[in-house]
């Protein structure tokens, strides 16, 4: 997998290379901004994008001026861990393993700190509150010292990661959520320490030192925020499970058949294009290829999302990572390593998960100014309480200061968008829906018209014989066998349909003894000693069968089908109707799209009659027929000028410009590489039901992002004034710092769990 895509601009001759880094230790949107700033500060860096949920940084650099070690050092100086993602396939696997180990270690370390903090916070709380039940405790001289002993390890050891983070932020003149936690809890802790050891100070100010023991507040906040971080780190590891499980599908080795029939086991990375691989029942297909012998039912659900096994025989393509069910077969390797469909899928999903939704950029900008604003609010409210508050004003000031700092932590904010995008795209990938970027999800929401290409998208893309009527006395199978023999040498797609129809009936088609193609009309051949003509009704008329089934011919033509007439030894033989048949699930797909309130449109290069027949059959609202290949993009542009947001669904090379032009381009799986490259969403497997599924997935993902932003943001912002004590004069409400810490932890966890719900979202 090439992670460093190098490109050279022709005019300025400035080279740009992409470098990917794994960044650990980030906890919130402010961390993201710090890392981005640190990276942008390195000379030669053109842009830096950091994703909190994937813990990846994507940096564009001028390779002549900046190397990876400089980038890693910059991130480390900012107080985070960094690991360069290698460009080499094998090293990359090692990096990923290292990365997982680092993450596991991080989660374990957090867990240890959490366990100690929780174990000490509970008795601290109990002892602090116990005076409510046993007033005598209030007088006990030993109580402050015991509380000090319980709280100190929490403040000085368990909270260490917060201090470290705050310190490195401070070094860069920044403030992040660590700053808020550290300021809040340290203030509470230091005031308590002063009240414990220097109670005379309080006495001289006329304050009662025993009322200024805030050990419980400090320990509870540290413990609760650790709970939030721990759960969040664990949940984050789950969000990208979908891709990891896809990547893990591959087989480790394959049985290669050498020339002459000898077989040997070959490790997957040693396979080369052209090898012949033997697959037995129950085995995983090692890589992409073309079946050359045997047949079997193959479970492709991991790639296409389609649960029924697909019948495969010689001449069919197989995909690496799919599961062979019933039969045995051998295939010729056509793609290996990074070129395989599975590798491309994984790469595409990873790209999408690392991409930033437009809405996220806004969130990042807000978060960068959020923390400094909160600091100002916290100090201002503390000063206001000192100046105007009731007795003991110092106590109220302290409570408000700590509560504001804690409630305002923007940690959930940094997770709201990326976790939803990661889980959403992962969910899509497991159903054969590949979303190429977060932008596509946002675009999908606004769509009001869905334009479908016809051939290959809604239809099978290959003409088949749909109606067959024989009128000769030699038996209908014999007639078909002779007609197929005549067509065997022809390269016309209609001829292939006739040959296939004969083979489907199990007829053995004979080679013609002589063969002559009449371009645009049909063929004339001698098969098994008989004189056979097959072609257009006009050809039949010219051969003297004017009356032959004219009514039937026009009936089929009205239905948009092509009619072939065959004669044998000068006698009428058969009338065949050939048409490109509609995919089995197309009707359901269209009905679902319409149920979602979207207008449907069929765009086709076919004759009006053919296109309309299909549109009628599928219940499509509107038809644009006889559209020249290049004109599809113009049609999309015209719809956009009329104020529509257009999704274009297509598969072919000639659809690529329209896919690119549309607000949302959806390439359907059997499609060409060009179509896949220009589309925003790729449906693997070619089932048109993927279209409503993809749209539904986009809607669900965006709804989740909106919910998350609400929980992360609105909620915090709304509680800041309460924490500052704005409501106190009216209702007597003041938010306890402990509750504020609880609220913070809950909002982070709510956001991540809400995103994880997408994993089981019903998308059809």
């Amino acid at each position: 997998m090439a992670v460093a895509a190098e490109s050279r601009e022709r005019d300025g001759a400035v080279a740009v290379a992409r470098r990917d880094l794994v960044v650990t230790g980030m906890t919130c949107a402010s961390c993201v901004a710090s890392v981005e700033d640190a990276l942008r500060g390195v000379p030669g860096v053109r842009s830096a994008d950091v994703n909190l949920a994937t813990e990846r940084a994507r940096v564009e650099v001028d390779p002549a001026r900046a190397d990876v070690t400089a980038l890693v050092r910059a991130v480390e100086r900012a107080g985070y861990g960094a690991l360069a993602v290698s460009e080499d396939e094998r090293e990359r696997a090692a990096t990923e393993q290292q990365e997982r180990a680092v993450r596991r270690a991080y989660v374990r370390a957090l867990g240890r700190r959490l366990a100690i903090a929780a174990a000490l916070a509970v008795p601290t709380m109990a002892l602090s509150m116990a005076d409510l039940a046993f007033p005598a405790l209030m007088e006990a001289a030993w109580r402050p010292y015991v509380l000090f002993a319980l709280a100190s390890p929490v403040q000085l050891w368990a909270a260490l990661p917060f201090y470290r983070g705050a310190l490195s932020a401070a070094r860069h003149r920044r403030a992040d959520m660590n700053t808020l936690v550290v300021l809040g809890t340290t203030t509470a802790y230091l005031v308590s320490v002063a009240a414990t050891f220097f109670s005379g100070l309080f006495d001289s100010l006329g304050l009662e030192p025993r009322q200024y023991l805030y050990y419980d507040t400090a320990t509870a906040i540290v413990a609760l925020i650790l709970v939030g971080r721990y759960l969040e780190a664990r949940a984050r590891a789950h969000t990208s499970d979908a891709v990891r499980s896809l990547a893990a599908l591959g087989a480790k080795s394959a049985r290669v058949r050498r020339r002459g029939g000898a077989e040997e086991d070959v490790p997957i990375e040693k396979l080369v294009v052209g090898d012949v691989v033997v697959v037995r029942p129950g085995e995983t297909v090692a890589t992409d290829g073309l079946i050359v012998a045997g047949s079997s039912g193959v479970d492709e659900s991991m790639v296409t999302g389609e649960s029924l096994p697909v019948e495969k025989r010689a001449g069919d393509d197989v995909t690496g990572g799919t599961l062979n069910r019933s039969g045995a077969f051998r295939f010729r390797v056509t793609r290996v390593g990074a070129d395989t469909l599975l590798a491309q899928i994984v790469r595409m999903v990873e790209e999408a998960q690392g991409s930033k939704a437009p809405i996220q950029r806004l969130v990042d900008r807000v978060a960068a100014v959020f923390v400094p604003v909160v600091l100002v609010v916290a100090f201002a409210s503390a000063l206001a309480w000192l100046a105007f508050g009731p007795h003991p004003s110092f106590g109220y000031a302290l409570t408000a200061f700590v509560a504001v700092l804690i409630i305002a932590c923007p940690c959930a904010l940094g997770l709201a968008t990326p976790t939803a995008i990661i889980v959403g795209t992962g969910r899509g990938a497991s159903r054969g829906i590949l979303v190429k970027s977060a932008d596509a999800l946002e675009a999908a929401k606004a769509i009001d018209v869905v334009a479908f290409d016809k051939t290959g998208t809604l239809t099978v893309g290959r003409p088949r014989v749909t109606d067959y009527l024989s009128c000769a006395g030699i038996g209908e199978d014999e007639v078909l066998r002779l007609l197929a023999g005549a067509e065997l040498r022809s390269e016309h797609p209609l001829a292939a349909a006739v040959v296939e129809a004969a083979r489907e009936r199990g007829l053995s088609v004979a080679e013609p003894e002589s063969f002559e193609a009449l371009p645009g009309e049909g063929v004339h051949a001698r098969v098994d000693g008989r004189d056979v003509w097959i072609g257009t009704p006009d050809l039949a008329r010219a051969r003297g069968f004017a009356e032959l089934g004219d009514g039937m011919v026009s009936h089929h033509q009205a239905a948009g089908k092509t009619v072939l007439v065959g004669t044998i030894d000068g006698e009428p033989g058969a009338v065949l109707a050939v048409a490109d048949v509609v995919k089995a699930s197309a009707k359901e797909a269209l009905a679902e799209v319409k149920r979602m309130g979207l207008r449907t449109l069929l765009v086709s290069g076919d004759a009006r009659r053919t296109a309309q027949a299909i549109a009628r059959e599928l219940g499509i609202d509107d038809v644009r027929a006889e559209v020249r290949p290049g004109a599809k993009a113009d049609l999309v542009a015209q719809l956009q000028r009329e104020g529509h947001r257009v999704a274009m669904v297509g598969d072919g090379v000639n659809d690529a410009p329209a896919l690119a032009r549309a607000d949302l381009g959806i390439a359907i799986g059997s499609g060409t590489d060009v179509a896949i490259a220009t589309a925003d969403i790729v449906l693997v497997g070619g089932d048109p039901r993927g279209v409503p599924r993809a749209l539904r997935l986009a809607r669900r993902t965006l709804a989740t992002i909106r919910e998350n932003l609400f929980w992360a943001f609105a909620y915090n912002v709304a509680l800041i004034p309460v924490a500052a004590g704005v409501l106190y004069p009216f209702t007597g409400w003041l938010l306890s710092p402990v509750l504020a810490a609880g609220a913070m932890a809950i909002s982070s966890v709510t956001v991540v769990t809400n995103s994880l719900r997408l994993r089981s979202a019903h998308i059809g």
């Binding site: 058949r257 020339r259 012949v276 050359v292 012998a293 010689a314 292939a496 083979r503």
Partner: protein, 66 residues
């Protein structure tokens, strides 16, 4: 049904191509014999094998039949 079919393959240049082609067709079910004619740029395939399969295998091997 044992058939014999001839494919015109313009990409045939040398002995190497001939080798590649017979190697590609050898594992295909039903193929009994393959004769590559370098001068005529043709491949003769004998056996009971679907025309479409032969065409696909040749194309996948980098020798699309005309």
């Amino acid at each position: 049904m044992t058939d014999e079919r001839t494919y015109s393959v313009p990409a045939i240049d040398c002995e190497g191509c001939a080798n590649n082609i017979s190697e590609a067709l050898e594992p295909v079910e039903g193929v009994e014999a393959t004769v590559v004619d370098i001068n005529a740029k043709t491949v003769r395939v004998r056996g009971s094998v679907d025309d479409l399969v032969v065409r696909k295998v040749l194309t996948a091997a980098g020798y699309p039949p005309a």
